[in-house]
């Protein structure tokens, strides 16, 4: 399953200010879908020229997208905490 939502959470320590931003990644996929369909012939030609199995390439890119899910990056210093999660 590809990631559907991203969350960016920023907290500033001295004033306890924080904001949380939910990014609907599934909208991005919906927007990119028409472009993907348009670019499909170009992708197939490139795969043939490079002698790469197009099905294997699509499967690999899909698995990379799917693998992004559950990624968690947290950086905390004296001033702020930044948290990025992909759900």
């Amino acid at each position: 399953m590809i990631p559907l939502v991203g969350v960016i959470n920023v907290k500033h320590w001295p004033r306890s200010r924080s904001f949380r931003l939910w990014i609907p990644i599934f909208l991005l996929w919906l927007l990119l879908l028409p472009f993907a369909v348009l670019l499909l012939p170009v992708f197939l030609v490139v795969c043939l020229v490079c002698r790469v199995n197009p099905f294997q390439a699509v499967a690999t890119f899909w698995s990379i997208l799917a693998g992004l899910r559950d990624t968690h990056i947290e950086i905390d210093n004296r001033d702020a905490l930044v948290l990025i999660r992909i759900l």
């Binding site: 490079c50 002698r51 790469v52 294997q56 390439a57 690999t60 698995s63 990379i64 799917a66 693998g67 992004l68 899910r69 559950d70 990624t71 968690h72 990056i73 947290e74 950086i75 905390d76 210093n77 004296r78 001033d79």
Partner: protein, 144 residues
């Protein structure tokens, strides 16, 4: 031990029951998943203390959790690199002094690497020349 009078019959019964339980758990453990399949995430923890006197940077903590699926997919991506490009990559790595063959990147090798990463801790002590005191950086890479 029972015949020697060291333990009572009740204690002997409990001891035998405990042995049965441990034997059952051992046989169940033999059929469990291998470490490579058990680990789901690669964790990278960085704990940096830049010294109390440093006015620009305080302690920094980094906590990164990367799904193992992403690493496996990345390794599979190496298999898509065309043969001509691989030669260029290997040549570039050799020029940089890195004796590494990109053809050797395979999912099986990743599993071996993951097994080795089970509990890897790297301690880095940095002597800060700027006069803010000693920096201590602790990096921990492990799978969970």
């Amino acid at each position: 031990m029972l015949s020697q009078g060291k333990i009572t019959a009740d204690e002997a019964e409990r001891l035998l029951a405990a042995l049965d339980r441990s034997a059952a758990s051992d046989s169940a453990g033999a059929g469990a998943a291998s470490p490579a399949t058990r680990f789901k995430y690669l964790r990278i923890l960085v704990d940096s203390d830049n010294g109390d006197n440093n006015p620009y940077q305080g302690p920094v903590k980094v906590n990164i959790r990367v799904p193992m699926k992403l690493l496996r997919a990345g390794v599979r991506l190496a298999g898509l690199i065309p043969a001509q490009a691989r030669e260029h990559v290997n040549e570039a790595l050799r020029q940089k002094g890195i004796p590494f063959n990109i053809d050797q990147i395979k999912p099986d090798n990743l599993e071996d690497l993951v097994d080795q990463l089970n509990e890897l801790t790297i301690d880095v002590d940095v002597n800060n020349k700027g006069g803010y005191g000693d920096e201590k950086v602790k990096v921990r890479v492990f799978c969970e």
